[in-house]
Amino acid sequence: MSTMQPGGPRTAAAWLLGLILLLMPAFAGDFVLFQIFGWALILGMIALSLMFLAGYGGMVSLVQMSVAGCAAYMVAIFGDSAITQISLGWPWWITVPLAIAIATLFGTLAGALAVRTHGIYTIMITLAIASAFFYFTRQNYVVFNGFSGFNGVLPPPLFGVDWRQPVPFYYLALFFAALAYFLVLYISRAPFGLALQGIRDNPRRMEALGFNVFLHRIAAYAFASAIAAVAGVLLVWLNAQVSPGTAGIGPVIDILIIAVVGGLGRPIGPFIGAIIYVLLRTFALDFLVSLGLSGERFQLLIGAGFLVIVFWSPDGVLGLWDRTRERITARERQRSPLYRAIRGQPGGPA
């Protein structure tokens, strides 16, 4: 389904989308670049790591936001922040790889715990781990600076560019989001990804074929956590701060909502979900007020929209799109003479 024939309309659409994204700074304002697209690309990456685990591995992990939060905290702790009595002030080329490594390790360990169970238990356990991380960062003042967290965490001025300016940050986020997207696409077709999908569909058969189911699943967590960790580093630079609320229970659930609303079937889904979420989050208030409702009912709007999607289209917006397209092509096929010829003949492939 997701194979792209060269020269097909899908390839053209993909090139067009890529071009638009690359040229975005030419026609979009700073607010759109930084607050809408910067944020959506980062959330999309975190949701992508969840989509990788859930879509290809069959493991719905709610710990991905905590992994991103962990990376964000590590950047603040090892690097520079306004909390000088805790931050170590190490240079970025130590801080950033170290942060990504520690967060990936955290995600892998959480995964190693989670893969001992399956199905719904995985959701519950990762939710519990995520809330443990939230409470721990909120209670710990020695390392995580408790309730207030860290502020003044800025990206390093590399190559003489201030990476927190909208245009550079947009390209930074776009680069890593595209990297993550193509990496996930590549892995999903590489032997490892195929084995993972085999394990999702029938773990016992894969076990009998000689695949180590446990190790494959843990490796999937490691890979997904690395993506989430990179997104976490970008997130702390975007907000210039990190606090327990960054990876609180609300954001953890939001990532699940983003991934599901977008669609868990393909890697583009989480990004679609993220842009919908960010747009809603940014403009829902004005929208609600214009309807004469109180702007505080934003959560109600998100929750109700989510409920409608999961109840009627469990594979998200992508699923809606696929079904609409199928209906259109089916209608076109009915009009084509070949289709009539086949249907008209008894015994033809109906």
């Binding site: 719905v60 715990l113 001992r116 169970t117 199905g119 719904i120 238990y121 959701i123 519950m124 356990i125 939710l127 519990a128 781990i129 809330s131 443990a132 409470y135 721990f136 209670q139 710990n140 003042y141 229970i249 659930i253 699940l256 909502i257 599901v260 505080e296 009912r297 959560q299 109600l300 998100i302 929750g303 109700a304 989510f306 409920l307 999961v310 109840f311 469990p314």
Partner: protein
Amino acid sequence: MSAFVRAHPAWSAVIAIALALLLVAVFAHWPPGVVAVLGRKKIFLNALLNGITLGGLYFLVASGFTLIFGLMKNVNLAHGSLYLFGGYIGFEIAEATGWWLLSFIVAFLLVAAIGVVLQTLVFRRIEGQDLRQTLVTIGISIVVADLMLWIWGGDFYQISIPEWLQGPMVLPVISAIKSSGAVVYLKYPLVRIVIFLASVAIGLAMWMALNRTRIGMLIRAGVDDREMLAASGIGVQRVFVLVFAFGAGLAGLAGVVGGTFQSLAPGEDIRFLLASLVVVIVGGMGSIVGAALGALLIGLAEQFGSVYMPTYAVVLTFLIMVLVLAFRPQGLMGRRT
């Protein structure tokens, strides 16, 4: 019990010794050496009793959750919302009528009715699809949480205790001996003791109903093999609705209890959902005894944690969960599937 002792003699010995030490710690007079290490005996006893009574509350919430999951494999992540809603209803009834006991009955019935609606309108349509159930119930809990915030606002509510339950009760446990030689007995809020005894009674009644009655037999048969039960001509859907209503009603009842000895506020729904998740993961899904054991363990861990290592009390409960998962993934009382 004897089967457990025979199967795990070493663990039984450890548990027996731990229980004996606990009894000694509760009833014996503490020499100064022990006080130097553990602090005053009164603090220890209070933490112990708080932990046990909190465990009773957790049991009420989690037993409904575990019953629903055990029988129907329905994952109801809106369970915490049912708890909070029951609490608010109890508050309104208690304020309007001044009749504390009535609030329990109304909260139970109303939330049970919501449970019937949830089971028939939502869960029956997505039976057996646990991911969708999770997502749908998360959606429901977000919507309900915001609706409740809309109606009741962000304030703290506390259900006032009726006069006949106010004040402390003197327990026959020595908390300290004064230098003059006078013995001080431990005082503890009467209402918490009564509520704890009531939750023990509910737990015992549930256990009896499950193990000694026809409907309990049907439920246990449904937990083991749903298709076979349906094939024997039992209206499984009716049993499902009944169990869901009862489990939801228990959550509503627990809300009134929680509103009486703690408080009601937005966010409590998530707190109690997480608590019941941890309790049933530790205790083992679908087991009432496991829920009781897990609730007691988590309640004690939380209270002792907040007394002896206040910073990391919350993390302690999750640590217990992680340890249980690492060594006994099906939970303490769970059966391997």
